[in-house]
């Protein structure tokens, strides 16, 4: 089965706190929940604990959800259904 955009529904329905992010700056691989979090800003800023580079920004203001992963080279998360992999 080819992967389609519909499969993104599966990704965004998951709890991502256990997802592993590869930092686009230094290449460190870290669980999302083990990053340095800066919630007291206009939006949540998540930084790599190894090099402090911004790996993720997430905002909820203005009636939109905003997700910036441009500082993340790779995000991996265990598929909920083994047959999906």
């Amino acid at each position: 089965m080819p992967t389609t955009l519909d499969d993104l529904r599966g990704l965004f329905a998951l709890d991502l706190t256990g997802a592993v992010l590869t930092c686009g700056g230094c290449g460190a691989r870290t669980e999302l929940g083990a990053h340095d979090l800066y919630p007291d800003a206009p939006a949540l800023v998540v930084r790599c604990p190894a090099c402090t580079a911004v790996v993720l920004r997430f905002g909820t203001g203005g009636g939109l959800l905003r997700l910036d992963l441009s500082g993340t080279r790779l995000l991996t998360v265990t598929a909920p259904d083994p047959s999906a992999g």
């Binding site: 340095d36 800066y38 007291d40 800003a41 206009p42 939006a43 800023v45 930084r47 402090t52 911004v54 920004r57 905002g59 203001g61 203005g62 939109l64 905003r66 910036d68």
Partner: protein
Amino acid sequence: MAVVSRGFHGRGRRDRRLPPGQRDIGDGFPVLTAGPTPHTPLDEWDFVVQGQVDGLHRWTWEEFRALPHEPVTVDIHCVTSWSKFDTRWSGVAIDTLLDGVETAAEYVVAFSDGGYTTNLPLADLTEGQGWVVDTYEDEPLAPEHGGPARLLVPHLYFWKSAKWVRGLALTAFDEPGFWETFGYHDYGDPWREQRYAGD
């Protein structure tokens, strides 16, 4: 929508200083930060004006401190909806820093220790509208509030007043900064409630 006039005169006077969607934070001064607080030693600190200018203009901390400072008392407005009245600062006017600088640039990117950037039209920093401040309420500006020096552009949302500022890059084209690339408004006028792109 009807505009409701408050009957209490004193409250009404203060309300006129509040842009739409803002609340008066009173004596508080929230610390909003998107990263670790830099602690650059003053003997390593400098401030530069670069980009589309006739050479690099640079001041060490001692040189910056020796520039003419002026007191500034202004209201500030954070995009997260708090406003703070009558904040007292002291700093160097951008007009002073750009005195004698030849440029055809129309835009500025302010850049800071820690990698933060924000963009503004050059015309919004000049003619007494912008400062680099190093003093707050008669004390050296605390690191959590952007010390040793931060930009102060009070007529725009406070994210434009970059903490830990180290320089201005003058540019021919508008280059979105840290929050502007994340969907925040490119200009950020609190009186027009320009919080997000499209507002």
